[in-house]
């Protein structure tokens, strides 16, 4: 009886440590601060403000054999606002969680989807048959002084340009906070040279891979 009670106690203790669910939060950053979509981006040689910053994240898995195959659309646009999601994964302090940035190739060919993968959200390449991994849209002041839109639909869904990338995150007390730093894209990419990229393929995939948050 003592043995049984000890084993049961161990299980109970483990269950108590494991969290019931995992909250994953995305913070879009610029110059070390939360990016304000309602204000112009500062520190650039030209005026710019974002209207949409959206990215798919999902396909979570963690040891042992825990999988959450759902995908979540995080970010802000005129029709969408979501900065976190709750996954049913049970994660202990310090556990490694793997996530996909962009929708994986299997989900891309799995037919009609609901929720955050509903094509009506506008993250679907209708005539290309695949999900846009990330969207960056807004307006900027071009070299001629006129305000122009910029549109970047990033990613690819078909080999050799499958954009989904797995990164790991470390679980911490039921919450993982991911900081998505927009500084590299804003400082390295000159919109005045080219202000749109809307074709899935190598260029859109490379830009996506360059800007997604790193493992941490």
């Amino acid at each position: 009886v003592r043995w049984i009670l000890s084993i049961w106690g161990c299980f109970a203790a483990c269950a108590a440590i494991a969290t019931d669910s995992l909250k994953v939060e995305l913070r879009i950053m610029h110059h070390g601060q939360l990016l304000d979509l309602h204000a112009p981006v500062e520190g650039l040689p030209y005026a710019l403000h974002f209207e949409s910053i959206l990215i798919y994240v999902g396909g979570l898995h963690a040891a042992p054999n825990q999988n959450d195959t759902a995908y979540y659309l995080l970010g802000v646009s005129p029709n969408w606002q979501k900065n976190h999601f709750v996954s049913p994964l049970q994660v202990n302090e310090g556990d490694t969680v793997y996530v996909n940035w962009g929708v994986d190739s299997l989900t891309q060919v799995s037919g009609a989807m609901r929720g955050d993968l509903d094509p009506q959200i506008g993250m679907y390449w209708a005539w290309q048959s695949g999900y846009i991994s990330a969207k960056l849209e807004g307006r900027y002041v071009a070299a001629n002084g006129l305000e122009k839109p910029f549109t970047f639909h990033l990613g690819g869904y078909q080999n050799p340009c499958c954009s989904a990338r797995s990164r790991y995150l470390v679980g911490s007390n039921q919450t993982i906070t991911i900081e998505w730093n927009m500084d590299p894209w804003l400082s390295n990419y000159d919109l005045r040279a080219k202000d749109h990229l809307m074709q899935p393929g190598s260029a859109a995939t490379q830009m996506f891979v360059d800007i997604i948050p790193a493992s941490h």
Binding site: S110, G111, R114, P119, W127, Q199
Partner: protein, 344 residues
Amino acid sequence: MSVKHIFLVGALGCAFSWWRLPQIEVPTYFPPTVFALPTEAIDFQRAELGRALFYDPILSLDSTISCASCHSPYHAFAHVDHALSHGIGDSIGTRNAPALFNLAWAKSLMWDGAINHLDMQSVAPITHADEMGETMTHVVQKLKRSTIYQEALSTCWPNEEWETFHVLRALSLFQATLISQSTRYDQMRKGQVTFTAMEEKGYTVFQTQCNQCHREPLFTTGELSNNGLPMDSNLRDEGAFARLQTPGSKGLFKIPSLRNWAFTKPYMHDGRFERMADVLNHYRRGTYNHWSSNTHMTAPLPISDQESVELMAFLKTLNDSAFVFDPSHHFPKIFFQQAKERTK
């Protein structure tokens, strides 16, 4: 168990022995499907809902165009006599509306193979400015406002609200039920008829010259290929290149099935040929010094005049009148009659 119970069980047994699920019978010589065919009663109900949507102009922005506008059931769901597809506001597309059948076997859809799943195919024509010009959001809103569609949804997906998912799934299930398998060729394969001597000779020519791309029994491999045609100088359609951006993808178009060809003229991705004889002439004598870098079809097919006649005799065995005139695919009169009565 009382006598009453025994009678009850007997009566139920009798009822079940007479009641059968609608079934899709697929010939044994057909390959495995890519898209799962409906098997459950609920799937057939959903396919019926898809049939109603298919014929309903509610899917287009100004409620003038339905899927059936360009995919007529009496022409194997192609747009007979129209080289290019039509859309709202008299707009004209850049490609010929393809015939719709045996889509459950299609590895990809559209002339450039851009669509990877039958479920998702409908998004493209519904949202294209030169076709139905709608948004999925607005389509869902319209369906939510319709009493008849609300009732239909509650039958097909109980306790759910209209979403894009339901539109796409219903349409794909309906399209998956469009199966052409009753041609004279099929009857020959099933041992019900024997080919005439001319048909038999044409079958041999077909197997030697055409079967590599138009592989039986579906009469397509479902792959993309160079069709050897020069590019239309107005349409400037580069085929799969627009999507793949690889040198080898220039001029690649999906190989269409040869089934039901007599119902689906004009032919090729831009509907440039009015007669099947023109298509045959192209492959027999066409210019193959092609702008596509794909090496397939770089020389005319060695088919003599006599063989051409024999081939035509065989090709005529590929038309499926039973499929084309099957009322179960046609306009769902009862559904729309009910809708009309409701609005009175």
